[in-house]
Subunit: 324 residues, 2 copies
């Protein structure tokens, strides 16, 4: 397939139902305004060997690319709308790989209700590289910010923390002691994030601040702390762990250091949320209804800085990173 | 500079004056609707060694990246608004190259009135790769399409054709016979396209169809022909040439084949326009006022197919490509 064939055969069907994309046959798309709503826009790129492993199936690469962007929409309380894709194919991605990549896009388009609106395909002498510009809608002025956390509020996190980083190790053949079943579950978490879009209405109604945990929980909470001009305390013993991550921590000679490692590792694609105590309780109800685990892991206070405690004792940095 | 330093030092200043970008400090931007306008969105990527030469100055790479996207806005009659950037830095792009890249963005932001609204930076083990998602505004439903050409209309083109492809040869050290001055002028055309945004109001008022000539004039006119469901005739002897391109054609053993080569080569970033004869005359006045050359090179007819003539004689394909 040359570039035009790939667009016609693989990508044009992904724009069906979106008249604003003109069947990908024009220089640009024309997006009509949605009165009363802001267009939320985020853009993330992935590079083979940096954000995914060279042998990863193209369909999963496509789905992860959409999901890391959808996770940003989830954190902002936005309803998914559509996306633009730029993809640079290396020579070793043949028609079969390209077709599998497009099939992965189609699968997650259906799951998350987004459509391809435009983009670009090129060749590259380097690794597979792609970027998605993802768009969603929020009621005007209502986008959830990192900067809304206030003293007295609770810090909560969805799902479990650390599985993404452990999943990368598992996908690389590490963590043999955990057994094949746990390693497969962890690798799946690394390869296929679960954007927490089902919590959107609850977040818009009850959250004061929210962000996407992609670079490590503690580092991302520091972003919330700095943007909000507050102090944040994290209780490490309350970190929500999957069964596999708990098994990993229990096997470590220093379990607190292991917890700190998991709290500074990336690829979780969970949400960190600040909400007042009454609103946090309402949010917990919404999360339970959406079948999304939601765990209070700390609190917001006057001041500056992010303090990490384990059973009341400060935990200090190592690595990128933290030391007991 | 690490990723966060690069964002803070190089990119955050490029978002100044755009409150919807939140100083690039959040997961996403929130774009308010502009009542009565559609948001025109286009996305193009560049790869080192594919779209620019490995030794090209980073500032010029940045400006070309913006300009190839702005050229799409120009073709659609859109007013530039802002853009999202994903950039993957190779290890050999140090702080100096990154700073020069950002300075190139700043220079063309000022020239074209756009602001950085968000994006992503990553590392790459491969060549420098970047994509821009460029946004502009058109009055609702007024985006110029490829599909609006009608029988009886004239086909016009801005500027000169073929300089981009000759410029690539010149930048690679070819075309010695043309002399250094012409070669420098051509290489500059390759490295720094001139998006024809100054013709925007004239196009919206008078053009029926328009597209950006980036993949070769004839191939792009075929896109207009197919999208519009018409036949198009191009008179090759009317192809507007720069003095340097004319000197190239005159030195060729088969000047008509040389003209056909220039009409099928890429990187011109001029506009191909269909307009009725009276509207084309009005457009010519607007182009003269904007100091943009505008040349009638053919006509639209009933039927299908793109016919290329030279002084009334059909010119047949070779290469990608055309043969006399």
């Amino acid at each position: 397939m040359d570039e035009f064939e790939a667009i016609a055969r693989l990508f044009r069907p992904l724009s069906e139902g979106a008249p604003e994309a003109f069947g990908l046959s024009d220089d640009a798309a024309a997006l009509p305004p949605r009165p009363g709503f802001d267009l939320v826009v985020t853009k993330d790129a992935v590079v083979e060997g940096v954000h995914f492993l060279p042998g990863d199936p193209p369909g999963l690469v496509a789905r992860k690319l959409l999901r890391v962007n959808l996770s940003d929409l989830a954190a902002k309380g936005a309803e998914p709308y559509g996306y633009f894709l730029a993809v640079s194919w290396p020579a070793h991605w043949g028609d079969e790989a390209k077709t599998a990549f497009a099939a992965g896009l189609a699968q997650d388009q259906a799951e998350f209700g987004v459509r391809l609106l435009g983009g670009d395909t090129t060749s590259t002498p380097g690794p597979f590289t792609a970027s998605v510009t993802m768009m969603g809608w929020v009621p005007s002025g209502r986008m959830l910010r990192r900067s809304g956390a206030k003293p007295g509020q609770a810090l909560l996190v969805t799902g479990t923390i650390g599985d993404g980083a452990l999943g990368l190790l598992a996908a690389q053949g590490e963590l043999a002691a955990l057994g094949d079943e746990r390693r497969a579950a962890l690798a799946d978490r690394y390869r296929l994030p679960r954007p927490r879009l089902a919590l959107r209405e609850g977040l818009l109604a009850h959250a004061s601040a929210c962000l996407d945990v992609s670079d490590g929980l503690i580092g991302d909470v520091i972003h919330m702390e700095e943007a909000s001009g507050v102090a944040i305390q994290i209780d490490l013993e309350r970190l929500p762990l999957s069964e596999a991550a708990r098994a990993f921590v229990e096997r470590c000679s220093d379990p607190v250091a292991a917890l700190a490692e998991l709290a500074t590792a990336g690829d979780d694609y969970e949400l960190a949320i600040a909400a007042s105590i009454p609103e946090a309780m309402m949010l917990a109800v919404a999360a339970a209804e959406a079948d999304i685990p939601l765990t209070p892991i700390g609190r917001i206070a006057e001041g500056t800085g992010t303090l990490v405690l384990h059973k009341g004792q400060p935990v200090l940095l190592t690595r990128t990173g933290w030391k007991h």
